[in-house]
Amino acid sequence: MFESLADRLQQALGEVRSRGRLSEEDVERALRQVRLALLEADVDFRVVKEFTARVRERAIGTQVLASVNPAHQVVKVVADELTELLGGTTSEFVLPKARPAVVVLAGLQGSGKTTAAAKLARYLRAERGLDVALAACDLQRPAAVEQLVLLGGRADCTVYERGTDATPVEVAGWALGRAREEQRDVLIVDTAGRLHVDDQLMAELQAITERVRPHRVLLVLDAMTGQDAVNVATAFAERAPFDGLVLTKLDGDARGGAALSVKAVTGRPIVFASTGERLEEFELFHPDRVAQRILGMGDVVTLVERA
């Protein structure tokens, strides 16, 4: 159980190394290990298929079979493709000059939206010196408003809340009005968790975004998510086109293949990484770190060198 991709490749190609030459069967054997490791890391089934097809093409085509050190080449191809799929560089989170810049957080139940709202508020205040307000638009989950009020307090930011009597769309509009009046730099809107297949709640989310016209929409995704991640992301992209993702609970030991899948299918980058329950445990996302988690070892370069 839970062997790393690096270890699997080592095993699959270990004996080839002494032999020096690589047959097509060797490549297939290595690819089976790649497939297993990616599925175990929760990379989407279709993404795995395309990935292994690309690696096969590059590995079997031309140079690799004939090269001086073919096992080395196969590993390098896998590492290259994986890094490329995740998008290489760290994304920036640039806010427009508008005042207030409006950010909406959306996602499934329990993914970490309310926590991320407060974390983002703290981040923008502490790192960029911005005056941030939070809007409590989850009127559904019991005590969601109290939760945001408490977390907002810890982040040292204003929280706009009107209890649970109005509708979320009304509260969002009202909060935007106040943020304008009070000349806040940023307004972050916390929304209720919703399933992407729940038409009524997805329509509500759409209504909220139509009401506040956000400059940025972030999808909050749990790093432990399995094969459903792509369905979730594509459904949210239809109703509330998002600019990027917040990947949460990265302090766990999930490999985070869902992130890779969502990036591959929607093209949207992962912008922030949430790595704990405390508000400071939040930072810009580094794609190479997830590549490392999936590979299961120090870094890609070492992997190539070891092969």
Binding site: L36, G110, A143, Q147, D222, R255, G257
Partner: protein, 292 residues
């Protein structure tokens, strides 16, 4: 839903009463996409292939029926009891799991069912003293479910909250105590130790308690669910799984792997955010939703 449609469509369209080689690949795909994981999928598909080769299964309908049967069997470990054992007085149920899976909500629903359907006297213990407004959240559920509550203070030792709750339950003649615990990732050793300590406090106070320790797994979870289950089972005597959020499109197939690898029975499923959205686990219905 998508997996179900995809598989039904493909089986219907391309197999047409005949079982060709491609069919196993399509079944494998469907199971992987339902989060069963490679080993559990391989076991089920391997068994099917063997039975087809031996001529025990013929045609699409038999194949689908047998597939469902195998999934249902795998989801229910041999000899496991899916019902909650609440015979003790007070019966103590601890609810544990990683962050955000649905522990507090499940307690609210379960309290309502025990109180409403069975007329039991239920007390909930708000031993999540860590997460912001977790106590208020459980208090709202206690009100909805019309049950008693013992509240922890923010930052209070969760073991002492559990102790207070059990003492109150014994003094008042409560039938069932449901203990809500803070969400924690299974690889955070100090937090897992803290949970084990709550368990020790509980068993020190009421003989034989906790009578049930339910691990809540979110149906959206992928292969990490297996690690969660094995880590929680090591630190607490997990007696069963609650699979939540089955009202989404995720199938929760990782519980099949959990049942197979760890022998943990699935006891309850959550199918929504409402008070009545809790059901006993039905392996046949679960399998049918996976492959229809």
């Amino acid at each position: 839903r998508r997996t179900r449609e995809a598989l039904a469509g493909e089986l219907g369209a391309s197999v047409i009463g005949r079982v060709d080689d491609g069919v196993f690949e399509r079944i494998e795909e469907a199971l992987i996409r339902a989060d069963l994981g490679v080993p559990a999928t391989a076991r089920i598909v391997g068994q099917l292939e063997e039975e087809v080769a031996l001529g025990r299964i013929e045609g699409r309908e038999q194949l689908v029926a047998r597939l469902r049967e195998l999934i249902a069997q795998a989801a229910r470990p041999d000899g496991s009891e899916a019902r909650l054992d609440l015979r003790a007085r007070p019966a103590v149920v601890m609810v544990v799991g990683v962050n955000g899976t649905g522990k507090t909500t499940t307690i609210g629903k379960l309290a309502a069912a025990l109180r409403g359907d069975l007329g039991l006297r239920v007390l909930v213990a708000a031993a999540d003293t860590y997460r912001a407004a977790a106590v208020e959240q459980l208090a709202a559920w206690a009100e909805r479910a019309d049950t008693e509550i013992v509240r922890g203070q923010p930052g209070q030792d969760p073991g002492s909250v559990a102790f207070d709750a059990l003492e109150a339950a014994q003094a008042r003649g409560v039938d069932v105590v449901l203990i809500d615990t803070a969400g924690r990732l299974h690889n955070r050793t100090p937090l897992m130790e803290e949970l084990a300590k709550v368990g020790r406090v509980v068993s020190g106070k009421v003989a034989g308690a906790p009578h049930e320790t339910l691990l809540v797994i979110d149906a959206t979870t992928g292969q990490n669910g297996l690690r969660q289950a094995s880590a929680f089972a090591q630190k607490t005597p997990v007696t069963g799984i609650v699979l939540t959020k089955l009202d989404g499109s995720a199938k929760g197939g990782v519980v099949v792997a959990i049942a197979q690898e760890l022998g943990l029975p699935i006891k309850l499923v959550g199918v929504g955010e409402g008070i009545a959205d809790l059901r006993p686990f039905d392996p046949e219905a679960f399998a049918a939703a996976l492959v229809e």
